[in-house]
Symmetry: C2
Subunit: 368 residues, 2 copies
Amino acid sequence: MSMPYLTPAIRLRRTPFSRRVEAAGAKAYTVYNHMLLASFFRSVEEDYAHLKRAVQVWDVSCERQVEIVGPDALRLVQLTTPRDLSRMANDQCYYIPMVDEEGHMLNDPILIKLANDRYWVSIADTDMLYYFKGLASGFRLNAKAFEPDVSPLAIQGPKADKLVARVFGQEIVDTKFFRYKTISFQGKEMIVARSGWSHQGGFELYLDGSEYGEPLWDLLFEAGKDIDIRAGGPNLIERIEAGLLSYGNDITIDTTPFEAGLGKFCNLDTATDCLGHEALLMQQDPSRQIRSISISGPPVSSITSYWPLKDYEGDRAGHISSATWSPDFETNVAIGMVHRAHWTPGTELIVETEAGEQTATVRDSSWI
Amino acid sequence: MSMPYLTPAIRLRRTPFSRRVEAAGAKAYTVYNHMLLASFFRSVEEDYAHLKRAVQVWDVSCERQVEIVGPDALRLVQLTTPRDLSRMANDQCYYIPMVDEEGHMLNDPILIKLANDRYWVSIADTDMLYYFKGLASGFRLNAKAFEPDVSPLAIQGPKADKLVARVFGQEIVDTKFFRYKTISFQGKEMIVARSGWSHQGGFELYLDGSEYGEPLWDLLFEAGKDIDIRAGGPNLIERIEAGLLSYGNDITIDTTPFEAGLGKFCNLDTATDCLGHEALLMQQDPSRQIRSISISGPPVSSITSYWPLKDYEGDRAGHISSATWSPDFETNVAIGMVHRAHWTPGTELIVETEAGEQTATVRDSSWI
């Protein structure tokens, strides 16, 4: 499939930064949580090289927040995840698998604890708001779930520290990984976390109020002029090199946390209130699991449906869910689901792409 | 904003008909329920004219089904809607507002009753599956919610009857409005309803099994050759002329059924199990409501965020949520939310489009 056009509509929501993103030359978009997300600006390859050497500002407003507030807020969130939330600090962010009663993945958000009775769930591309609403009604919890006017802006890349030091001060740079601090922008308090969907380091600023979007964007770009600041977005090549999973691509509602390699976030001894707890107890020894996989041969095309993996006897061995050419590693980097019999690092398999068969090798870890 | 490109990804799911849709020359897409939906083929205007004179086949697989099955199926669905489902027949389809506890719209699907303990909810663009899962868990209901491998294919236009008579027989053509009958395709039973998101008449066939998609498509196109059959999709111009509301555009989670003009589907005397029942009782006399609105002057541009409506004193009077030029009515046709003080048919207002101010007139009904 060549790249098609996307028909504009209100239903595909614009963000507080959309005009700046357009002015910066966004060339293509995806739709994520009913909202526009720029995929690349110059090209995926150019953006990738720049991300690894400089600093980028990403409009990731589409990482919508579900705010959970009320006396039963913690209880409501804990129902949805096997990660034990009881010791979470008030300035902390957790990456958490969210599951249904069958232990199947519904989302893999970042949870942000704002107060003992107030959380933000920074969601991947499914309407978690609806799950929380259903649970809150059904369990008659004293907690409200809604989408606030909050839009994350990511600052990513090796020069992110330099930029943030200039704009918000060294104290913010000193924030520990997956912790946040509060800044004041034009008199409005907002949180900045050391996090982001790349392995280049950086921050996510949770814009609190759409009206602050363009002034904030302009402030950052003015301050970063001499360090080659550019608009960017989650980069397909870099995120596969980093082994970052994408809900809807690598993980779906058919995946368990253990199959996704997220067993370390399943505290089954303590997080017994999670609705999926009983199911998860039976799933700890999965028969398939997500792996990083290299694919030799020529650069692969865009992947728009799973590519089957098979062994040399022709038996099904799993599938590839993400793949692209990596200029830095000079191979195709990929993520896929591999059956137990084939998941030993170094195992060679055959992948059936639209363009034909290529050799795939299971890795023991991601590239970066 | 000029029309941007859409970056392909597995997360933007292809359908059982995608290869045929591409071969038919789809020029642009939208994303709906995490799935591709072709917006137009030749142009929106050409597709519109053709829809009104011939027959089109629409890949509306993105109208995903949520299957609700089990002894508590009816109870689970009734929790979500103020429409009384108790007298629904076993071959019937209902258009239903779905609301949360506050009486706010979560979706406006077609409900299909397959059996006393089995329903399909043919959803607009939100993850209703998650709401049903949350409710089923919270209320401990004996009902399961999941997404089956079912993909609707719409057959729309004045010659739809002719095509369906040829392919499935006169008995299917004789199906009453919002009722369905069962056909057999290659030995597989599937349902065909007299319904569809246009006012040109037609059917929706619920493809049951992706593997039947291309043979079914080919059968229809072969049978319709001499009556100018074409691929199409929900048409922006025609659906506004018909006053068909679009969730995410005209209706959102901030809208009540009464504001959406869906009061006739709220059986507040009998559907007392609906979770929003108490809230809805207080909302029956709304201070704003959706109206069809004509906009004079030159053809308007694409609408990507609400256009404010104001009166001649400059007071806010509502907003426009859908708008486009109608070749047949030689005016801009629109849908918007209008405050009570301004909603009398014939009221003239000012609409602020990106291109400047134009005159808007509130209508008493849609165009067709």
